[in-house]
Symmetry: C2
C-alpha cells in the first residue's frame, strides 16, 4: 500500500504509529472486471483507495444505466451520501478493469479519526478535494452543452476519454454513442 | 457568536484556548438585503457562518440569473471551488434578508487548522456534511422532474419554500414562476 501512504503523507506527514495502525486495519481487495464494490439498494460500508484500475459509479434512470463518474488509480472512492450517512445507496460502483483497492470500513474510519486526531487533517483535505470536484461536475451539468462537456472532460481528464468504454462515457456526457464518436472524430471543438 | 460556538462544540468539544482564538480571529459582518458577500469574477476569500438571515448563490447562464442554492441561519456559506482553490468564482452570493455573519479568511483558516489540530475534526465533519448536501442536489438535478424537485425541496427544506422569493425559487427548480405558483397551489403532489 505504498502508493496510498505516499498520497496521505503528501497531505500531512504521518507518525510511525499511525502508519502501523493503517497497515493493520486497511484491507486489500482485488475486483475483477465487471465485479461490484457496491450495488444500489445496499449501504456503502467501505471507503477505498484505488491503487490500480478503473471503476465507474452509475445509477438507473427509467431502467437505463447513467454513469455519474469514473475513478482511477490514486482516487478515493465512495458513494458519498450512502457512506457518510450510512444509508441505502441509489448508486452502484463497478470495476471496468481489474482493480486493486485498499479499503477501510465506516466504523474503523471513525475510530481512526478519534484515535489519531492528526488523521482528521488528511481526511479534511481529501474531503475538500472531492467536494470541489463534485461541485465542478454540478457546474458542468448545469452550464454546458454536451459538446462543451466533452471538451471540458478532455481538458481536465484526458485519460478517461482514452480508457472508459464509449457507452459509459456517452451516458455520463448525456449523448448517444454515435454523437460521442462524432465528437471524438473532431478531436477539438 | 454563541450560536456558531454551539454548532462547532456539538461536533467536537473545543478547548478554552481554541474558543479564545476563534473569538479573536472571526469577524462579525452584517449584510443588508441585496448586498453581496461575493461577486462573480472575484475570489471567495472568506468562509462564513450565518447567525441569522438568508442568502442565495447564483450564476449567470445566457444572461439569466440561475439560483444554485439558498443558505440560512446555522449554515456555513462559501463558493466551494473558488474558496478551496482560491480561484476566481463564477458564482455570486447575495443576501436576500438582512444577514448576520461570522467570517474567517482562507489564510486564517489554514493557520487555525495548523495551530489547533482538533479543529480539523470539526472542519472534516462540516465538509462531509456539505459535500453530502451537494451530492443530493446533483442527484435531484439528474433524476427528478421539476414537480418532483419541488416535492423533494418541500420535504427536506420546507422553510426555504416559505422564505425564498418566488423568482429565485423558480430559477433553482428550473421552472417558470407561473409553474411554481401552480405547484404551490396544489400543496402536495
Amino acid at each position: 500500500m505504498d502508493r496510498l501512504l505516499q498520497v496521505l503523507n503528501a497531505i500531512y506527514p504521518m507518525s510511525h504509529e499511525l502508519i502501523e495502525y493503517l497497515a493493520a486495519h486497511i484491507k486489500h481487495r482485488i475486483l475483477s472486471r465487471r465485479q461490484f464494490l457496491l450495488r444500489a439498494g445496499h449501504v456503502s460500508r467501505d471507503i477505498c483507495f484505488i491503487e490500480s484500475g478503473l471503476m465507474r459509479c452509475y445509477y438507473l434512470k427509467d431502467d437505463t444505466e447513467i454513469s455519474s463518474w469514473f475513478m482511477k488509480e490514486d482516487d478515493v472512492i465512495v458513494s458519498v451520501e450512502s457512506f457518510f450517512q450510512q444509508k441505502i445507496s441509489y448508486e452502484s460502483i463497478q470495476a471496468l478493469e481489474t482493480t486493486n483497492l485498499y479499503c477501510i470500513s465506516y466504523e474503523e474510519l471513525q475510530l481512526l479519526y478519534k484515535t489519531f486526531p492528526e488523521f482528521n487533517f488528511i481526511g479534511r483535505v481529501l474531503t475538500e478535494r472531492y467536494y470541489t470536484q463534485s461541485e465542478q461536475r454540478l457546474y458542468s451539468i448545469r452550464m454546458q452543452k454536451s459538446r462543451n462537456r466533452y471538451k471540458h472532460l478532455m481538458d481536465t481528464h484526458p485519460e478517461l476519454i482514452m480508457r472508459v468504454p464509449s457507452k459509459y462515457l456517452a451516458s455520463y456526457l448525456g449523448v448517444r454513442e454515435e454523437t460521442l464518436s462524432r465528437l471524438r472524430g473532431r478531436k477539438y471543438l
